[in-house]
Symmetry: C2
Subunit: 618 residues, 2 copies
């Protein structure tokens, strides 16, 4: 048994986390936001959380592990993360088969707080067979037995299910699982499954860049699979505005964009279903959240009015749409539920985040802020009974775009930078590969360190210092982060004046948005009692760096919570519980949207927050 | 002004009718069941009822006609049927452009009894435009204005309408026609039309052989167009069983059949819309009735269990299905309503007939029978508070199939035959063309005349007589109806022993069905107070002939009513009135279905009724 703190290096995600004495690798991973499969909830029964130790010493293999692995495998270092505990600092490799979406697991715990009361109910029914003495239609036979056995579940039958019903009931000897779906006026029979098939639910966080999917057993509420993919629409435009512009070029273009994401989500669902030996025709319910533009492009709604002032959505209400109307080949009558949008640039994903993090229902005497950092950064604030929201065009700089050596978080990306007082520069790359570029958390670190060490002034101008040199393009100076001989691309990896400006614009927009919400509520940053940072990028940033450059307010560090993909968790909560859907509607209704682009205070505030460091107190 | 009865020969339909003094051609045509377009209801305003007089004398052209036609056209005999009155016997040609479905008009009058209270409501609304001060979503803007102006019409918005909404409201300056559809729990916005567009309704009688469509103005209830086509599924199988067999060969075959009729109906709708300068995207509501097999094949429901004992439908309830789920490109959220079926072989078309003819709600002290003669003949009987129904496999003989020289009603078909006591044979063909075959009413006449003159005995055997000769195939005798030199096909047109047997089987099945219904109710044929004959064939048959061979009971002639396409009228009533839909559900629920194939009485009854003449009293 370990008796002291140890350090685990998770690869290939490149995360380092401290293990408390007697903690399992899975527990550490979950706390650190490293996505390791844990279908059984960490009880050693599913055998999915396979990891491979590459350095350091672990506890002896348990009986569970000895059953899971043969001696050869154990000799190669294969272990179950839910069983093994580090005895020393260790280096760990997570095989792709054990990975979930990277930002998921640390909020996984929250879902268990949600009561399982989904929109679909599954009942096993024996239907009396047709005979010369019983000439009722098959549909009537089903309706009557529903009525007999569960009087409150009587309802109409989706007509496309009727195309299968006669066949399925005869093939399974009139003994089937009947799936009923709540509607405004009762229940509707949406699927009839063979008795051995599990009815599945699909929750999706549809991001501009990434898509996260979760597959759930709709009889138990158990999460069976989780998987992330890139949004296939990226090839048609990197950010929301580019995609709106593309869609506005004509109905075929809009349809191309729509089909790209529809097929992307269907493929994601297929992969997850295949992994458990199921088919997507077992998916009986789905919840999808995204920002307003993704929501509209996914549904094929017009985006022209989203892309031009006054930026109004075509629809903001929660929607129940037949999956077949989207183009999904799920169970015959399956629905896709879409959480409500708040405004043109504050969408259902933000509602899902406010739902999952509790900000939407925060105590009245507290001030909770939720910030979802991305190309657009949405901010929600629960303060004294109000729920204020805004969106700022923070740009894709933190995704690596518009940064000379910028890149997404991938092996070789510089993800952390420290400049010691003695001038020593430490650079960490993802997967410890030779540096090939800088990802969002890395660029944030560089700028914070340079500012802290006085190499950058408040306006972002660079002064003379080691590694600082005039830039080739003659536009000011640049900082050499990794010289060519050490880099993986045979050239200097530098940070330029232009890069710094991009980050200033991004962080200035975010902070100005936050400050305007605070002003609207008559508060200052010190009044914030909880500050939730959501989203992939938000998970990996160094809080101190973000505070140093003034992106985040300088409040006590324990008030910050980095929750990872809260939108995805919100989507899953809505899949598991109709009450959570109602709560989402209440959140969207309560939310007051502050339009920053027309707010006369914004320009002045932005001029202050664009500067590095905490803005001056006024 | 005409002061005496005259006779009008309508061509190409080959109908002859007597005109009372001072009747217009249109009035005579409507009484005789000849389908002449009368969009304006016969007020001379639509100019659609163009006819051409080919022999005889008409009243002077009216001012309306002089405005409609130039002197050349008038010289060629072109007139408006609603204006012109015959002064002598006349021969009239109806151009295709003036024809409706042939069997429609005579029941046209009944629809005016239906109160106009359709499932859709149309309201003209001005929606407040989006602005920086009003950032509501377009959908919310629409919902709010619906709620303000008509509190009872609040409801959800079909999501595919959302794809058009933003564009349509902006294009028409936020002033539009909003179409709301009743649902189980309120109203749903299903279409938003430019203010100048008429929202349309489509009623369809989907027959095994023929399809009749009606286009209705859903703001006024006015019928704008009516048109008939052949069912395009005919090329895959002539009767119901052939099509069920085809569909059972595989899902692709079933889909081929389904698409054939879906495209057929959509094309029919397009033609009717085009005729009034509209598009099918203006169709906001539709009602379709057909027999159970047509209903199932149209919806893509399985038919295997329909084609094998115990012949149960997949579904019998009334259905509201989104038109897009069928494949129709109507208004975004438009529904197709399907009336309920009664049993595997008594479908929604029979329900529509019982609805349109009032049999479903007949007075308790009367006995009303409705017979829809076709390949399957459905019989309904309202007697002493019960509503009994059955279906008999009468076969396609009356459609001309399985009859050596049989053909459908088309130019040159022998449609009426008289054999005088002196042996003179009179044969009338459709359009007075040289005879090329015999259609249903003709074959019925021949057999009745031969039986009446003693040339056929009860068992259908032929005795020596003029025109009777041994048949070439050595199987009994045949009767020469038209010798080769007078026929249009250079060969003798004959009636064979086999032909007579086919008719005996058909009429025997019908009459046995009727008799079993009467027996079930404890009645005899003389108790029948009204006998409604529906369907195309039923319109053209000679009652006396049908009674002579025993197909129909020998009750006083005035109790018979030939109503034409009552199923189509029933469909239109359901389009015009939700109360009529509820009535149809009540009819289907009340109906008792008598399964003849397993009824022990059937064989004995059939052995009696297969003989020519009225069955012996027992």
């Amino acid at each position: 048994m370990s008796t002291q703190q140890t350090v685990i290096d998770f690869e290939p995600v490149g995360r380092r986390a401290t293990a408390q004495p007697n903690e399992t690798i899975l527990q550490v991973a979950q706390r650190a936001g490293v996505g390791i499969m844990a279908v059984c909830g960490g009880h050693g029964t599913c055998g999915r959380c396979v990891v491979q130790v590459r350095a350091g010493q672990l506890s002896e293999p348990t009986a569970v592990e000895k059953k899971r692995f043969n001696p050869d495998q154990l000799a190669q270092g294969f272990r179950l993360a839910c069983q093994a505990k580090p005895l020393t600092d260790i280096k760990l490799y997570i095989p792709p088969s054990s990975m979930t979406t990277t930002q998921r697991t640390q909020v996984e715990g929250k879902e268990y707080e949600v009561e399982f009361e989904p929109a679909v109910k599954v009942v096993r029914l024996k239907i009396p067979p047709a005979s010369l003495e019983d000439l009722r239609s098959d549909a009537q036979r089903l309706r009557d037995v529903c009525r007999e056995q569960c009087p409150d579940l009587d309802g109409r039958i989706d007509f496309t299910l009727l195309r299968q019903l006669s066949h399925v009931v005869r093939q399974h000897n009139w003994d089937v699982k009947v799936v009923l779906r709540q509607t405004a006026d009762g229940h509707e029979v949406i699927a009839v499954l063979p008795p051995a098939q599990i009815p599945l639910g699909l929750a999706v966080d549809l991001g501009t860049t990434k898509v996260a999917g979760y597959l759930v057993n709709m009889e138990t509420g158990e999460t069976l699979q989780a998987k992330g993919i890139m949004n296939p629409q990226i090839s048609y435009g990197e950010d929301v505005m580019a995609r709106i512009t593309y869609a506005m070029e004509g109905p075929e273009k809009a349809e191309t964009l729509r089909l790209a994401i529809v097929h992307g989500i269907e493929d994601l669902a297929k992969d997850m279903c295949k992994a458990i030996g199921a088919g997507i025709d077992q998916i009986v319910e789905s919840v999808i959240v995204g920002n307003t533009a993704m929501h509209h492009l996914f549904l094929g709604l017009p985006v022209h009015q989203l892309g031009t002032a006054p930026y109004v959505p075509a629809e903001n209400m929660a929607l129940d749409v037949k999956a077949r109307d989207i183009g999904f080949r799920f169970a015959p009558g399956a629905y896709v539920h879409l959480l409500p949008n708040i405004a043109g640039f504050v969408g259902a994903d933000h509602v899902a985040m406010l739902l999952a993090t509790g900000i939407g229902e925060a105590p009245e005497d507290e001030v909770w802020v939720g910030m979802d950092i991305g190309t657009n950064t949405e901010i929600g604030m629960s303060a004294r009974g109000r729920l204020l929201t805004c969106s700022t065009a923070s740009g894709p700089a933190f995704e690596g775009a518009h940064i000379k050596y910028g890149m997404r978080a991938a092996p070789g990306a510089i993800e952390a930078v420290r400049l010691e007082e003695d001038g020593e520069l430490r650079v960490r790359t993802i997967d410890n590969q030779p540096a090939v570029g800088i990802c969002g958390s890395g660029i944030l670190d560089v700028i914070a360190e340079l500012y802290k060490r006085g190499i950058l002034n408040r306006r972002g101008a660079m002064s003379e210092a080691p590694r600082v040199r005039p830039s080739n393009d003659g536009r000011g100076h640049e900082y050499v982060l990794v010289p060519a001989e050490e880099s993986g691309i045979q050239e200097d990896i530098t940070v330029s004046r232009g890069d710094i400006s991009e980050i200033q614009l991004a962080k200035g927009a975010m902070r100005a948005g936050l400050n305007l919400l605070l002003q609207t509520a008559g508060l200052t940053d010190q009044d914030i009692t909880r500050f939730v940072i959501a989203g992939a990028f938000g998970t990996y940033i160094d809080l101190e760096s973000a505070i140093t450059i003034g992106m985040l307010p300088a409040i006590p560090r324990h008030r910050f919570v980095q929750v990872g993909n809260a939108a995805g968790i919100g989507a899953k909560q809505a899949l598991l519980s109709v009450k959570r859907r109602q709560q989402a509607v209440a959140i969207a209704r309560k939310a007051e949207y502050i339009e920053l682009t027309t707010d006369p205070r914004f320009t002045g505030e932005f001029a202050r927050t664009i500067q590095l460091g905490q803005p001056d107190a006024r």
